[in-house]
């Protein structure tokens, strides 16, 4: 029977297939099981090159690999870390940074002023397309590294004239205009130094550097970045700066928040940095005191197109703000994971005043209705939002509140993505009110006021322009001391109270949880776990 022999072949083939399926890939060195080792959840970072990182996951990993010049303390004041001293001239235009001696990169290279200058020039040079390039735009000579605004020709200069090496451990930074907050700005990841090993030529980054970055921080990578899986770091021996308490950290990469949470409660993960809203119901019983909340810098607001006639009267904008019951939205929609916002800067920022918005952010339907009629607000409004962020219930609730408070019609308008929404706004299309959000770059009031409300602000979508406001923000930048700057910025914020170019709604919070194995878990404003305080529970 010829068919029989062929039929027999199927069985071995199936067996081979099964064996192949069961065959596991080579064992990677796993530090997770070692004592004094912990795992923390992140999402897949976009990149690990410091100047390319704007999202939290990449920033979080970099906090373990690099040691910043400046740290930010609990009261959000800057203090020196890798820098020995940071001084500036009278006008805060020329800054001198002295580095601490004895620091090395994890490959043994000593950290010198050149490492900073090279890294910053790389970040600022436009053809390198680094997303944080704009952080350096205050430094003199930044414009030379950008394409010519008129001819669009690529730049030929690769080095900013404002960066000068004084000696191996000292560098001098000259700014275009005085800026008292520059020390705080330097706490950001794009100001990390890069070792010589990172570059394959003058200003050309090594292609593989992204896979296994070498930093000056308390941890170094053990092996390459395992994409979509994990990034493992281990303590650098004899680290000169603050030494963390744990020996190894595994940054576990997740795509799904639900999977992440399930791993936490079944003991495969030590710190879950973002508990999904749908798990919040069971989280308090699952985790008890190990479910924590801490402030984050996120700020949700509703942008009002001030350039449109319907909304040009500030009374209309104030009325809309008073028509919103923020507490109700925080409790009902966000289950207490967000806090009502009644200011324009996050509560954790130096200079924040509780309720700087005053009456205008208090829920008061009668007063709102009166103001709205006086200002001649439209009988029908739309709130646009992007559907890719899960904002529907929030916007619908907002609309219903406005409807019942003001007796007008309010509809929500869904736009597929944030980028489309932004495009419509830039083209000043009639989108009505818009859901927007902001998170700071560095903990300064300016990081909220400058980009969102000044006439030339990079994220000013409401088209708000007020010369007095602009000049107050600038005065703050150029103040002699940080305290003086805050005073100016607060005056600027007071203008917002009257003009209400955007309606503050919510401040974000980190909602995180951890396993019984770890202790002293704290998360900062930028949604990063503090790797220096975290400890294994005794």
């Amino acid at each position: 029977m010829p068919g029989k022999s062929r039929w027999r072949m199927v069985a071995p083939v199936a067996t081979i297939a099964l064996l192949a399926a069961g065959c596991s890939g080579g064992d990677s060195q796993d530090t997770e099981a070692l004592p004094n080792s912990i795992s923390i959840s992140i999402g897949e970072p976009q990149t690990l090159i410091p100047s390319g990182v704007v999202e939290t996951y990449g920033l979080q990993v970099l906090t373990s690999l690099f040691y910043p010049l400046v740290g930010i303390d609990k009261t959000n004041k800057p203090y020196t870390m890798a820098a020995d001293s940071i001084t500036h001239d009278k006008s805060a235009k020329v800054w001198t940074i002295k580095l601490k001696d004895g620091f090395t990169f994890s490959n043994g290279e000593p950290v010198t002023a050149d490492n900073y200058i090279n890294a910053w020039n790389y970040a600022a040079f436009a053809p390198n397309a680094q997303v944080t390039s704009y952080y350096f735009d205050r430094i003199a000579g930044y414009a030379d590294l950008q394409p010519d605004p008129a001819t669009k020709k690529p730049p030929t200069v690769k080095k900013m004239s404002g960066l000068k090496k004084i000696n191996n451990l000292t560098l001098q930074v000259t700014l275009d205009a005085p800026f008292i907050g520059f020390e705080t700005v330097m706490s950001y990841a794009s100001f990390y130094p890069l070792p010589k090993a990172a570059f394959s030529g003058d200003g050309v980054l090594n292609k593989d550097f992204n896979e296994e970055p070498i930093g000056n921080g308390p941890f170094k990578m053990t092996g390459k970045w395992q994409h979509d899986q994990k990034i493992q770091v281990t303590k650098v021996p004899d680290f000169k700066g603050t030494v963390p308490k744990v020996d190894n950290i595994t940054w576990k990469i997740y795509q799904d928040l639900g999977a992440q949470y399930n791993d936490l409660i079944s003991g495969n993960l030590d710190v879950d940095t973002k508990i999904p809203t749908e798990s919040l119901g069971s989280a308090s019983s699952d985790l008890g005191l190990r479910l924590q909340k801490s402030p984050s810098s996120a700020f949700q607001f509703i942008g009002v197109p001030t350039f449109e006639k319907d909304f040009s009267d500030p009374r209309v904008r104030r009325a809309l703000s008073m028509a919103i019951n923020r507490q109700e939205i925080a409790d009902q929609i966000y289950l207490g994971t967000q806090l009502p916002a009644t200011s324009w800067v996050s509560p954790q920022i130096d200079g924040y005043r509780a309720n700087s918005c005053g009456d205008a952010c208090e829920y008061n339907p009668t007063q709102a209705k009166k103001l709205y009629t006086q200002g001649g607000g439209p009988a029908e409004i739309t709130i646009s939002y992007n559907t890719d962020g899960g904002y529907k219930s929030y916007i619908d609730a907002l609309c219903n509140q406005i409807k019942s408070s003001l007796g007008i019609n309010c509809t929500s308008h869904a736009v597929p993505s944030l980028s489309e929404l932004v495009k419509d706004l830039q083209e000043k299309k009639n989108v009505g009110l818009v859901r927007l959000a902001w998170a700071m770059d560095y903990p300064l009031m300016e990081s909220y006021l400058g980009p969102v409300y000044t006439t030339t602000g990079s994220s000013n979508y409401s088209g708000y322009t007020n010369p007095t406001f602009d000049s107050l923000v600038k005065d703050g930048d150029e103040a002699k001391t940080p305290d003086e700057a805050i005073k100016k910025w607060q005056q600027a914020e007071d203008i917002l109270k009257d003009d209400m170019p955007v309606i503050p709604v919510m401040f974000g919070q980190n909602v995180y949880g951890y396993s019984p194995k770890v202790d002293d878990v704290t998360m900062d404003l930028s949604q990063n776990v503090d790797i220096y305080t975290i400890d294994v529970a005794s």
């Binding site: 053809p127 680094q130 979509d228 795509q255 799904d256 409660i265 079944s266 944030l418 990079s458």
Partner: protein, 308 residues
Amino acid sequence: MTRYIVRRLLQMVLTFFGATFVVYALMFANQDDPYQVLAGDRVVSDSQRAALNAQYHLDKGFFTQYWYYVKGLLTGDFGTSLTGRRIGDMLAEAWPITIKLTLLAIVISAVVAIAAGVFSAVRRGGIFDHVTLVLTLVVLAMPIVVLAPVAQLIFGVKLGWFPVTVTRDANLYQLLLPALVLGTLVVATELRVTRSSVAENLRADYVRTARAKGLSTRRVVGVHVLRNSLIPVITLIGVDLGVLMSGAIVTEGVFNIPGVGFNLFRGIRTEDGPVVVGFVSVLVIVFLVVNLIVDLLYAVLDPRIRYE
């Protein structure tokens, strides 16, 4: 036979380029502003846009972009993702785990479906037959978006029988739960098809002849009937591969398996055209190859079938 295979392979080349073109066009139509998606809430500046365009050519027209892509493809270069990773590397990392998962799901579902299908066909109208009917209806009615998280919660978190999430170098046991979940997608139809096919063949003349010759029931069912009943089931398994791949998008997300579905989902979300096209193209090849194998298996099962 060889000529047949060569002809089929040549057809595949055409299908492959057709598929990449269609997927590329779809991604192009869907693409809005991927740079902005990456940058989040902050607007991408003009100079960054110019620098990124120099690398990714997103400012060019559709045909120019597609030409760049095909040019790369012909030299074996799948291009780079918008996050700067080589897509060839991403494919090499993602495929093995997905192949393992899918193979396991196919084997599990085929074994369960054929065994249970034959049994219920032989005992038609019995308790087992009725129970499997109800069970298959339940499984068919349950979408995988529900099944996957529920299975993870019950068997992974509450009972602790299986690991909750799976890593890239997972072993058979770790993959079992996701494979079971994935297998439920296809097991019900495969079972019903096996049952009706076997039931029909049991009434065939050759079965009566075989019985009359005095062959044992085991031999009649296990060799004569089963072999003749398997052709529709094998066809189904080949087609089911597509179902399994789409199911993998959900399963891999829930169990955090960094495979093909996981990458596809992210690629679509971040409007990363080259990544999606790369993964789908390879998916197309796999689908074509598997169906070629299915066609060749026909000849193994039925000696009357010859390929010229």
